[in-house]
Symmetry: C2
Subunit: 461 residues, 2 copies
Amino acid sequence: MATLEAVLDTIDKNIDVSKERLFDFLRIKSVSTDPAYTGECQRAAEWLSNELESLGYKAEVRPTPGHPIVVGHAAAKRKDAPHVLFYGHYDVQPADPLELWTTDPFEPRLQQGKEAQEIVARGASDDKGQLMTFVEACRAFEANGGLPCEVTFLFEGEEETGSPSLPGFLAQYKAELSEPALALVCDTGMWNAATPAITIMLRGLAQEEVVLRGASHDLHSGMFGGPVVNPIHVMAKIIADLHDAEGKVTLSGFYDGVPELPEEIAEQWRSLNFDEMAFLQSIGLTTVGGETGRSVMEQIWARPTCDVNGVVGGYTGKGSKTVLPAQASAKFSFRLVGTQDPKKIVDRFRAFVRERLPADVQAEFVSHGASGALRLPFGSEPLKRARRALSEEWGVEAALTGCGGSIPIVGAFKRDLDMDALMIGFALDDDRIHSPNEKYSFTSFRKGTRSWARVLAALAA
Amino acid sequence: MATLEAVLDTIDKNIDVSKERLFDFLRIKSVSTDPAYTGECQRAAEWLSNELESLGYKAEVRPTPGHPIVVGHAAAKRKDAPHVLFYGHYDVQPADPLELWTTDPFEPRLQQGKEAQEIVARGASDDKGQLMTFVEACRAFEANGGLPCEVTFLFEGEEETGSPSLPGFLAQYKAELSEPALALVCDTGMWNAATPAITIMLRGLAQEEVVLRGASHDLHSGMFGGPVVNPIHVMAKIIADLHDAEGKVTLSGFYDGVPELPEEIAEQWRSLNFDEMAFLQSIGLTTVGGETGRSVMEQIWARPTCDVNGVVGGYTGKGSKTVLPAQASAKFSFRLVGTQDPKKIVDRFRAFVRERLPADVQAEFVSHGASGALRLPFGSEPLKRARRALSEEWGVEAALTGCGGSIPIVGAFKRDLDMDALMIGFALDDDRIHSPNEKYSFTSFRKGTRSWARVLAALAA
């Protein structure tokens, strides 16, 4: 315990230097979905590898069919220490719309928020800031005699695009990567600014882009409008048909494998006293939408969705253009829960679209990945220890929560490496991840780093 | 008649020089809808004014709240000659999508088409090429003793954006512009490459842009998807609801004032033996869409429509982005016929949209202009003379046709100046106006110029 206190002291004393290292990392424009930033993704991977090497660890930037993956290894100070795998991702979402950022998304800065200082930058919260809480905790251990656990580091660069290269990578390096007994994943959030959380449920995600094509080229809407099919109208009908009046998704068999919430979990969630109105007001809304009769929390953590993430067709510039467009496209995503089968849902969706194509309209489908939902066992010994460690740092019992987002790697760890994962993160709901002016509470950064120190110590106790 | 023959000879001898003048005009990027091209619109107006002055005419570039209008005056060689007003527009549609052009849209070139040489450039057909057929006909008269008619020239630069400044301009210069007895408008097409046409019906046009706003900012579709309203879904429902299964527009009262076709016109149109399949195949289609049971020709010339000209919302770049968008927008246009009231239809449309807004979604409406349909008297003396002149040039009886597009100025001439208009043009259906690789048949340019010489002579006979 003397060592842990020393480690926590080191973290607090060096927190400004830690922040500067994070700022360096945030300046790298590692947007994974846009080929224009391929070089920046490579640079982010190399930056991380250098960080690990600066701590005396072995580290490598390994190529994949997409962006590279960083693997590192750190020994523990004790031979019989537990071995954990820490996962994070260095890629970020696109920064657009750029005009809505107060300052350059890739020039991090500290600002005074309502309750704490905040780090503002693309990736500040998702996931560079979170990832660095763990690395900085390791750094503090190294300054105090070494790590209590053996650690394998795994940093990928394609999380924001569905981690297409990861399954192959895990298969290729299975022997090496399946050595650890437990995965630690830092890509989730706190219950609120005062209450830490461990995430025990994740929604799955299937993403499909649809391009509809009609006439061979854009036409004058006066000279051709009437008898000529308009692909925007066809796309609108498809989108409109996907939900019924009660907000349910109309794909046949969509709710196969969607369980009602177990009473045990429902009770714990109710005890969290979630404030729906405050949640809605924080994003400018007043009314619970979606499925009639389902609460906000249930819908986000435990119900599946279908959302159109983007649509475009015809003339979208300033003013008007009397064009009858030849094409319309839309990006669809399905959030999945329980045992919903991503492949079956994609197949049903494509059939649904095809059934709605009039004569002369062709559909092209582009898959952007599909992975099922995940529910973790929540009576395990590591979970109990981590929950206690978090409760000690924050002075309040850590919540066991769901998460509306997807972390496909957690499913891959279970499926490909037979490894459970502890999902612990320090993001807040108002971090504006994927949105302009993304931020990460400086308290999350400091106490997150301290939390990891406590969790590593607890796992090794 | 000796003079007319000499004028026609002059036209033929100088046609290559005429073409070079048109090419100069086409190089000016006078895109009226995009503020980035305001200077180019000014330049196009000055270029036209200089052209008229080079013919010895008085000409002025006059300011408007939008792009300037050119007014010119040319005397006739005889004192008692009829006085006509010639209208054309120097503005063009945006050239995008640029990547679909084979060559630079503003670097005109001549290419060998299937049946004739073609001039390829944005505006080659709509309306710079057409406008210049009249100016070049005047030039040929000047080389042969002068014009048979007195001519007032009126060239605007906002036709492609609904001519917002024209009504005010006509009011301001009413005394001057209402002196001519007849307007000549060259912004319409031939029946086919061999058969000239005079257009006697035009559809009206009402254009409305709708912006829907939900949450205060874009959100992560995992962290918020489910209970949070998606404006793209709301827009899709609105668009889908606008047509019923028979292709009819569902706005209440939309068909008030839509007449069935008079048998006299229906019979003339049937005699044109329009080839629906060839028309559809020319644009990559095989099936008549739109209103069930209505022919292509009837739908385009004599039936109203509702089309979405553009839609955009959320992430539309490469790859995927798990965003729940805060906004979606769409540009709607209504083609109108008979006595449909544009104002009433816009009001009904806005009410239709508002009725479909769920809680927390606001709609903003932007009007891009609204004008009613027009039907011209088709037993008048000038119409008979012009029809005969065209028939002589082309060796086949000129057709009396409808037009699916809008030429708001023709309505304004009637309403504000009490002046009928002869709509004669030489565009072809496959000119790709408003689309990439717009072209104008060189035959249209040469014989169009000759046709105007014959029409001017006939009106003065």
